[in-house]
Symmetry: C2
Subunit: 456 residues, 2 copies
């Protein structure tokens, strides 16, 4: 495969510079004040696809941000791979914890630091550059289509409708996604399972206005105390979620499957050191690598209420708020779980407060087969580039659109990502290894080659 | 007393205008960015005292904001009343809930709306204007001293040292304070008890950085969930505080005393309607008026952590924070209670998190006698101005310096305030009735008269 490595070696500085250029655009989809930047990012991605050699490059409008589309059809009899990625990023806060500004990318110790460096600009741009490489070296072995959306970080609310509307345009044999990771740079892996997600926001109201805690303290419901009590009651002593019905549809893995999972390399001491944890914490009866992959969870992602400024204010707040998300495993339904949460949360509220539950986005859990041609092609490609056969792993994260692709387009996805757990995606100081970026560009063309050969 | 009411009637517009002028100065002591305004307010108060006719008017420096001092000694053989008040105010947030800007006072429906309108600029300025009235009408019957501080809302940390240093300057027979309220405009009352305060801030740390809730959710301690559990455990099912030793020194009132308290007019339905509460909430075995006066309490005044912006972010925060205060009753010690809290809070933390507890200010609970000359003089003065004998009440609020005055100066205080519970002090839309402001100016000179007569 010297044609691949030669091309990368000659062009790698430009590959990196082009990615940095995209990382400078703060395409935060969650916050409306970045709307102009998200649209600018869509245009930039469109231009990059065209420059790489794609045909029919266009922005396809949705009720939210547009999808960037492009394709190269070389022969209708050959297989078609549909590449999915997203050009939007997570909000960068808390800003004060970044060691360099989130939208001013810098390279330190072989890593590119910026919001979106790994999730997902770096990973999606590997595909654009791998495509360029195949075009320039006349080695594209099959047809290829790109579909790069701008609302993944806010739940891809408009993607299902987009897929329905554009079914004909999107016909393909397999979907290829790089939005996950590998275990380590010397332990390649392929994601074969993803958790689903139900995300809600709650509001607890006590008195109709903020009150003086001296005059009213002890006599009226304090919505912050009540919210804390309600949240605390959502887990029992074994750290199991107490919402009635929460575990009803959960797939329990067999002893054999759990034994298989336990073979994946994992060093608990290093895990704790890396996160500076004095102890781990989770559901009784499961180990860390099970807790974050095959078990459903409930976490508060944000909480606020009352006086949060400097010094002391003796106030009883009128309202308290929390953002709460649940990670789901097969076959929990995200809508059903959100509804179970809502009904339970309202039921446990004491009569002295009023409670509202609002639904944010959700996504369905998935498990993908390891005996498919696509999985085997990805495995062979990674083995060739890393020199080691990749491990199949179930990840704790969610890529909700995988279930949607299966539902609407009838297509399976292969999740061949190159990030690392330590890349701090969704955190301050997100980064992506230059090694990983270039390794992705190297691996992807081989996937196309093996997939095309094995499809014959 | 027509000399008093005549003077008020002639000058009331000016009295109000002068107060509005002071309310325009945002003297927020809790927030360092208002430092210049707090100092400007001290100067303004000094100028007003001098204009009203006080001698030796000066700013006495402390390690924090200065104390405004002034006096009028007419005859050393006559009694001396030391007036205490404060020129600093609470922070105005949440700003978006104010119907008019907090530092642009407006008068609506006979009420002055502004931060500090009641607490304590309006109430302290009644004393300045009552003093002016007595000076201009040659009716000052005794000696008078003013001590108006600028750190009451942040715990009067430097006041004890100030009192020690200026003992000679502050010799007096009684301290007079208007920083409390009456039951209603037609039910005058005098505060004879105040709760103490212990105020702490806690920080719970889980992982050393914000994490992706998909990849880590369920496997590491979420500091927000843990903080909620810890806060929830601070109350039992009967809403009693669970900190060991918390109730050890609490003075239990006798049946007779509670029966006496129950005579104070209170309409539960109106209370609930006024605050839009579907139900009240508090310690089992006590009624509302006991819960907020003779019982100690624990309230979260603020909580924050994780993502609190628009939309959804799937993050596990590294840290979660809360501000927590406890209201104390005789004979709980504020320092001891803060220490009990701290020891308990650290003890209940699971090994998977780290906990810090920081102490904010505290204050001691007090109960004042109703058989003193000062109480009787205040009662007679209010009876004369309101046409109704005032009720002695124990308030839930704290004026921590009352205990300090007794300790350092050996002086009792009389708490003759004119605010209403509904004045929204410490809340958005704080206000003070023009009726109450003028009624204070009318009552105060009569207090001096009766106190001097009864001291003979």
């Amino acid at each position: 495969m010297t044609v691949i490595t030669d091309y990368i070696s000659t062009n790698k500085d430009r590959f990196i510079d082009e990615l940095l250029e995209l990382l400078r655009i703060p395409s935060v989809s969650a916050d409306p004040k970045f709307k102009g930047d998200v649209l600018k990012m869509a245009d930039a991605m469109k231009a990059k696809l065209a420059a790489a050699g794609a045909d029919n490059v266009q922005l396809i409008q949705t009720d939210g941000y547009p999808v960037v589309f492009g394709e190269k059809i070389i022969d209708k009899k050959l297989p078609t791979v549909l590449v999915y990625g997203h050009y939007d990023v997570q909000p960068p806060d808390p800003l004060e914890l970044w060691t360099s500004p989130p939208f001013e990318p810098v390279i330190k110790d072989g890593k590119i630091y910026a919001r979106g460096a790994c999730d997902d600009k770096g990973q999606v741009y590997m595909h654009v550059k791998a495509f360029e490489l195949m075009m320039k070296t006349n080695s594209l072995p099959c047809n290829i289509k790109f579909m790069i959306e701008g609302e993944e970080e806010v739940g891809s609310a408009n993607l299902a409708a987009f897929l329905e509307k554009n079914k004909d345009k999107l016909t393909a044999d397999i979907i290829l996604i790089s939005d996950t990771g590998i275990i380590a740079n010397d332990i390649p892996s392929i994601t074969v399972g993803l958790r689903g997600l139900s995300y809600v926001e709650v509001e607890v109201t006590g008195p109709n206005r903020d009150l003086h805690s001296g005059l009213y303290g002890g006599a009226v419901a304090n919505p912050i105390n009540i919210l804390c009590e309600m949240i605390a009651s959502l887990h029992d002593k074994d750290n199991k979620v107490t919402i009635p019905g929460f575990y009803d549809e959960v797939d329990e893995l067999s002893k054999e499957e759990r034994a298989e999972m336990a073979k994946a390399p994992f060093d608990l001491k290093e895990y704790k050191n890396h996160l500076d944890l004095s102890d781990i914490h989770g559901e009784s009866g499961y180990v860390t690598n099970e807790r974050n992959s095959i078990r459903p969870t409930l976490d508060v992602n944000g909480i606020w209420g009352g006086y949060t400024g400097e010094g002391a204010k003796t106030v009883i707040a009128s309202k308290a708020f929390a953002k709460i998300s649940m990670r789901l495993v097969p076959h929990q339904g995200s809508k059903k779980i959100a509804e179970l949460f809502s009904a339970h949360f309202k039921k446990i509220a004491p009569p002295s407060v009023k409670v509202k539950v609002m639904f944010h986005h959700g996504g369905e859990p998935v498990v993908t087969p390891t005996d498919s041609i696509a999985y085997k092609a990805a495995s062979k490609a990674m083995e060739a580039s890393f020199g080691k056969k990749p491990v199949p792993v179930r990840s704790g994260g969610s890529v909700p659109i995988v279930a949607t692709f299966k539902d609407v387009l009838g297509l399976d996805s292969v999740l061949m990502g190159f990030g690392l757990d330590s890349d701090a995606i969704h955190s301050p100081n997100e980064h992506y290894g230059v090694f990983n970026y270039l390794k992705g560009i190297e691996t992807i063309p081989m996937f196309y080659k093996y997939y095309t050969e094995m499809s014959k």
